[in-house]
Subunit: 353 residues, 2 copies
């Protein structure tokens, strides 16, 4: 009879005090282990986490947070959900939003949908407290922005000067400047025939801004831009993807035998370009220097490691949520934060002798 009772006992009845007792430590120590606090040895932490796992203990506050957050919801609207650049950001968003005891809806926006329009509907339907736009493009959206009545922020999108900055907050890098930095670096290595893989000319997004930085850097180095160096992403393949960089480079490489360097406006595009170069029997960087943009983890792990512009994604994601909550709590009206990015010179580019 006694055994029966034990089996029926729900495992979530275990408390933090039980765990502490089993481990022979105090409740504070268990809490520190769970919260990755620095003041606890790795061994003690590992032991405690093992006991937690063995007993299927669920910290109470995670359940409590969920209950409290019932009607407080933030939506993140995202274009290009398969882009690995957004992965780390989403992880940070989710964590920071939960920390504020809000809950989190991730809403994918189709390539041909207007994200502001989607946001206006979503706001009404879900009674949102705030909105993050991730990626996407926002030119000519002023009239529509006014229909959004909750705080919102544009994060890492292609924000152009056409959009009045009094209508929204934003977190980004200076895409023009950072792109200029990379092309200036390639010119400094002696390259003068530099192709760019970027967004098609009728788009307005980060690709457009990075293209402008490229043009300015060429100009400042006394290089006359040639139209055949603009390798535009294909519209029938997902934007900023390895597949797109691969398809474009496959098509353009043989027609541009004198190009010595390729600047792709995203690491994923650069990786696709490298593959097309390898399949052509050529090497990186011996035959072509290839540079990317974003600083994805894979840019380090790729062979060769990619020269790239590292955006501080985690910091940018944290700042996005911080500003959004400041707006929700009426501490600020509109804020624009521009983060510096870092040029990482690695093995995929070389000086032209």
């Amino acid at each position: 009879m006694k055994q029966r009772t034990m089996i029926d006992q729900k495992p979530d009845k275990i408390t933090i005090t039980d765990i502490a007792r089993m481990c022979g430590v105090g409740v504070t120590t268990v809490s520190r282990a769970m919260n990755n606090h620095p003041d606890i040895s790795e061994e003690t932490k590992a032991m405690i986490m093992q006991v937690i796992r063995d007993n299927h203990y669920v910290p109470n506050n995670s359940a409590r947070n969920l209950k409290r957050s019932a009607s407080k919801t933030i939506a993140v609207l995202i274009k290009g959900i398969t882009n690995p650049f957004f992965n780390h950001m989403i992880k940070v968003f989710e964590k920071e939003i939960q920390k504020n005891k809000y809950s989190f809806i991730l809403h994918r926006v189709d390539e041909n949908q207007d994200e502001v329009e989607v946001a206006i509907e979503l706001e009404k339907e879900k009674r949102l407290k705030g909105i993050v736009f991730l990626g996407g493009q926002f030119s000519h959206a002023n009239e529509k922005f006014k229909q959004i009545t909750v705080p919102f922020i544009l994060s890492t999108g292609g924000v152009t000067s056409e959009v009045g900055s009094e209508n929204y907050s934003s977190v980004s890098v200076d895409d023009f400047k950072e792109s200029y930095k990379m092309v200036d670096y390639l010119c400094g290595l002696g390259h003068r025939k530099i192709a760019i893989i970027t967004s098609p000319p009728d788009h307005v997004d980060v690709g457009t801004l990075r293209f402008e930085g490229y043009l300015k850097a060429l100009e400042d180095h006394g290089i006359t831009f040639r139209e055949e160096w603009a390798w535009y992403m294909r519209e029938d393949i997902e934007g900023f993807s390895m597949d797109n960089g691969y398809a474009v480079t496959k098509h353009r490489l043989s027609a541009n035998p004198d190009v010595t360097a390729i600047f792709a406006v995203a690491d994923s595009l650069a990786i696709g370009a490298c593959k097309a170069i390898f399949e052509d029997g050529k090497r990186v960087p011996e035959d072509y220097s290839v540079a990317g943009y974003d600083g994805l983890d894979i840019s380090f792990y790729y062979n060769p490691s990619l020269t790239t512009i590292r955006q501080p994604v985690e910091e940018m994601a944290e700042e996005t949520i911080r500003i959004l909550f400041d707006m929700i709590h009426k501490k600020v009206k509109h804020t624009h934060r521009i983060f510096p990015a870092e040029l990482l010179a690695r093995a995929s580019t070389r000086p032209l002798l």
Copy 2:
């Protein structure tokens, strides 16, 4: 005065009929262009999409779908949100769920949280109609599963025989069998000293099942397993990540000079392993054959292309949602779908001469 009126007119007042008129085509043709219908030329489609963009036209049905879906919500609970393996799945989930006029909540579960516990709370709070568990581990969860009162499905998680299959539906590959297939392939190439990068022994997840497949394949080839070939992922680094594969291989490589092949239970781990090999001044596959698992896009684009087990992610994701809605509509009780995976023999492995 007239101009004023125009500025105040909301751009979303434009209808599909206006677009058709501007393009000089019928409404059906515009609809076909927007829905990627095959019966329309690429040129016409491009022209129509351009007019749609220029006029900021938002298809009415996307707004309508949102309204209808007000209280019908599916939650996807995910462990390891930065794992690129899940990206394509999430994209398909979102699309299929929207197609069913439901809306979609993505909820990240921490490494040390019990996803079933989180689901129980989330179900109450959000009045969910269904739940998808993505990744994660589910041994000993039977008692808790019973507390979930809406249909749910385990997708691509480590489902072991310990969990009674009458309590849930699932979609997966046969991790044991597919892993066996890969190790059998490596043995067939002449490798007899094969390391495996996998989950720590106290875990129960896909890594455990793949480890068992590895052990059985060695046994069937008359190879005695050695404990030093088990390269366990580090617990202080995110599981199944490039960082983890890199750290583990850095540490183990020099201590195991006679190993000729490394089987990593995820492509991300395999890529990290390759990087560690390169930094050691060695080559893939000349010095070490390296094989992965999952069939991520990057496994094709990596240099060298990775030999891997390709899981049919899109199909698995579609089937997950199909089964879930069949359960919601009471068409089925519990279904278990096991998909076949495919061994892709590529450049990262070679026969041992």
